[in-house]
């Protein structure tokens, strides 16, 4: 054997392998399909940090089960809720990022052209589970079809401390109207237990404002979605109500709250009443705080124009640029399987409400009398901006804290009329900048 033999063999071997590999790679590139080994698809889902972390754990568990069953990987990334809009904007702008994301508010309208159409999926799920609540569907159904699947909504009832109400001589009663809240709040504040509604740059401040203003028959934009309507006698009533509540039933701290401000306020034992999802109660249960026994919920109060609620409703959208749209659809469908959705409700301890009627009869709401009234909130809920349809203009009004700032200006001494004029001008700007959706 001469010494060159192995070398030449090696070289021949190398050439053969290299040629084979190049041919394989060329066909792979030409067909645009990865080889079988690399075919494990990855689905990425951008969501928020759930206010009840156990719900995210359950979501990840289901994602893992789905991954195994479908020979794929589902990655759930979560970020803080206030950072999500900017992150989504960046993905929309760069046309790259996750395959699907947790949309909210007017996102389906804002990014109508960038979202995949989900008509078929929504139709199928709706038929399967007794139909969607109107306010949930209104937030996802654009002129060009369903651009998101309603995922869950978060009831926005009143949370109150029964012990404080009893001590103030109200027995077992609670405020059924906003006017009653004012009169009871005055007594409660004197007792050292004020009520609290944020008037600050946070999203709870919007939720409550929409709710109160509808209850007084006030609007922000007319139903046409274009005509500003905030400068009105009805809004003046709302502002006057806020002013009196601020002066006689609340403390100035409401001007500085973030979304957790009112939670801390009621859990500290100082506050007697807040308008918020059930998260403080859940936190008290989890931390085994004695105050959990005193905390109860009641439906959002009513006004001269009835009871109205603006609960946050969240949805799931699939980007058009995603290469895994089918897989994303399958995953969404999987999350809506009754046993999966039920497990997720339980994990969130009744925080997540189903947008589908038949999923709403989960025993969790019947089992705990403190939760029993929650599903009822869906009956008088509307998307923000109502009677106008959700739009980027409405979203912008919320994003720029126009409503909270209007009230804040008024309670800080600006004449009501002037505060409304300021808000009207901001609404005009928000409408003017409306997206030209083709």
């Amino acid at each position: 054997m001469d010494q060159s033999a192995p070398r030449s063999l090696d070289r021949r071997h190398f050439l053969r392998t290299a040629a084979g590999a190049s041919a394989g790679m060329a066909s792979w590139l030409a067909l645009r399909t990865p080889p079988a080994v690399a075919q494990k698809r990855e689905l990425t889902f951008l969501s928020w940090n759930h206010f009840v972390p156990a719900a995210d754990d359950e979501l990840r568990r289901q994602a893992e089960v789905f991954s195994k069953a479908n020979n794929c990987t589902v990655r759930v990334d979560t970020v803080a809720h206030l950072q999500l809009p900017a992150k989504i904007a960046a993905e929309a702008q760069s046309q790259a990022g996750h395959d699907m994301y947790r949309s909210a508010g007017a996102d389906p309208f804002l990014y109508e052209n960038l979202h995949a159409n989900l008509d078929e999926l929504v139709d199928k799920l709706g038929k399967q589970y007794g139909g969607w609540y109107p306010f949930c569907s209104q937030m996802c159904q654009t002129a060009s079809g369903w651009k998101a699947v309603p995922w869950f909504w978060v009831s926005f009832p009143a949370t109150y401390n029964m012990a404080h109400f009893k001590k103030a001589g109200f027995g077992d009663s609670y405020p059924k109207t906003w006017a009653e809240l004012l009169s009871m709040g005055k007594v409660l504040k004197k007792q050292g237990n004020p009520v609290g509604i944020p008037i600050s740059h946070c999203s709870d401040a919007h939720s409550t404002y929409w709710s109160v203003s509808w209850s007084y028959g006030a609007k922000v934009i007319e139903a046409d979605g274009k005509t500003p309507a905030i400068n009105s006698d009805k809004t003046a009533q709302v502002i006057e109500w806020y002013k009196e509540l601020f002066k006689d039933a609340m403390e100035p701290e409401v001007l500085s709250w973030d979304d957790a401000g009112n939670n801390r306020f009621i859990l500290s034992g100082k506050g007697s009443w807040i308008h918020n999802p059930v998260s403080p109660y859940n936190a008290a249960l989890k931390e085994k705080m004695p105050i959990a026994d005193d905390i109860n919920h009641h439906n959002s109060p009513a006004g001269p124009a009835g009871a109205h609620s603006a609960p946050p409703a969240l949805s799931m959208a699939i980007w058009k640029f995603s290469k895994n749209q089918e897989l994303a659809r399958e995953f969404i469908q999987y999350l809506f399987k009754k046993e999966n959705y039920d497990a997720w409700i339980v994990a969130s301890n009744a925080f997540n409400h189903p947008p589908l009627r038949h999923l709403s009869d989960h025993p969790i709401w019947a089992k705990n009398p403190k939760f029993a009234m929650l599903p009822k909130e869906a009956e008088f809920a509307h998307p923000r901006g109502w009677p106008a349809k959700p739009s980027d203009a409405v979203q912008r009004i919320d994003d720029n804290y126009v409503l909270a700032d209007m009230v804040a200006k008024a309670v800080n001494g600006m004449p009501t009329k002037r505060a409304m004029e300021w808000a009207q001008e901001q609404v005009v700007r928000a409408v003017k900048g409306q997206l030209k959706v083709s």
Partner: protein, 312 residues
């Protein structure tokens, strides 16, 4: 400076051919010099000049997130100038920068003079002073947020227990003036170490002989500071003030975390408003116009400062 072909020849690198010609070409001063600058230039172009150009283009167009718009000229600038919120932001930025900067200059020089004295644990103290500058701003500001919390404010608790204020004390983040004070305090707390340490470096470089001569002449400690220290510190101070003006004017983290621009937009700065309008609100055109508004202002500051430094 350049390593010319002669040197290589002397070293015996004689082999002809393409490689050596390439090397010869590469080692010419103009080629080699530019070659060294190239990486930095590429970084500057891709990370500074390109985004800057894009921002200018956005600000002149009707550009929304995910939907390219048409050229609209100065419409965005007209729009923001007529907006009360923006005018308020301009006022806020000037108040914020002026007060914070003044405090940082005065306290920074003072701290530097103190640090220059021979004391025990000098290194430890200098290290500790730098802490606020080293901790990520977002993290330390969260701590401050908790200290200014409406319910659990440790600041109020302490002041009430010391009998300095009557309960419940100021609502730091909920009232316009207090909120501005709060963001300024955090900015000063965070920016002070940079000021103090840099000034200290300038201070250490002042020759001792000057002080000795001044002492012989019977100068008091105040006139020693005023007539010797300060004039010699001027060049260092000018540079530090220049940097600090830019950092302070363009601050984002502190306001975004503490107040999100509230209450009633009274603490919004250019950066936070631009973020709110451009990214959260999706109006990239107006957001860019707001962000770019600081550019001519800061440009003027840089111009005058640099001219002043050069004159010195």
């Amino acid at each position: 400076m350049a390593v010319g072909p002669q040197v290589l020849e002397a070293a015996g690198a004689r082999s002809a051919g393409r490689l050596s010609r390439l090397r010869e070409w590469w080692e010419q001063e103009e080629v080699f010099g530019y070659g060294l600058i190239l990486p930095a230039l590429a970084l500057l172009v891709s990370l500074v000049a390109f985004p800057f150009g894009m921002a200018i283009y956005f600000s002149l167009s009707d550009y929304w997130v995910g939907s390219p718009g048409s050229f609209v000229g100065l419409a965005n600038y007209r729009e923001i100038l007529s907006n009360e919120t923006f005018r308020q932001t301009v006022r806020n930025s000037f108040v914020f920068t002026a007060v914070a900067l003044t405090l940082k200059i005065v306290l920074g020089v003072w701290l530097a003079v103190l640090l220059a004295r021979p004391v025990r644990f000098k290194r430890l103290i200098r290290g500790a002073i730098l802490l606020p500058f080293v901790i990520p701003t977002a993290l330390s500001t969260l701590g401050w947020q908790w200290m200014f919390d409406s319910l659990y404010s440790v600041v109020n608790w302490t002041a009430i227990h010391l009998g300095l204020i009557s309960p419940p004390g100021p609502n730091w983040l909920g009232q316009a003036t207090y909120a501005m004070i709060a963001v300024i305090v955090v900015n000063v707390w965070r920016g002070l170490p940079f000021f103090a340490i840099t000034t200290l470096a300038g201070l250490v470089a002042v020759p001792r002989e000057y002080y000795e001569a001044a002492e012989v002449d019977g100068a008091s400690s105040w006139s020693r500071f005023w007539l010797v220290t300060l004039p010699l510190l001027k060049p260092v101070l000018a540079v530090v003030i220049l940097f600090s003006t830019i950092f302070t004017f363009a601050d984002f983290n502190i306001v975004y975390i503490l107040t999100r621009g509230g209450p009633m937009n009274t603490t919004h700065l250019f950066a936070t408003l631009a973020y709110q309008v451009g990214l959260n609100g999706g109006n990239l055109g107006q957001g860019s116009a707001i962000a770019l508004f600081i550019f001519p202002l800061l440009g003027a500051v840089v111009f005058f400062q640099l001219r002043y430094i050069r004159k010195d």
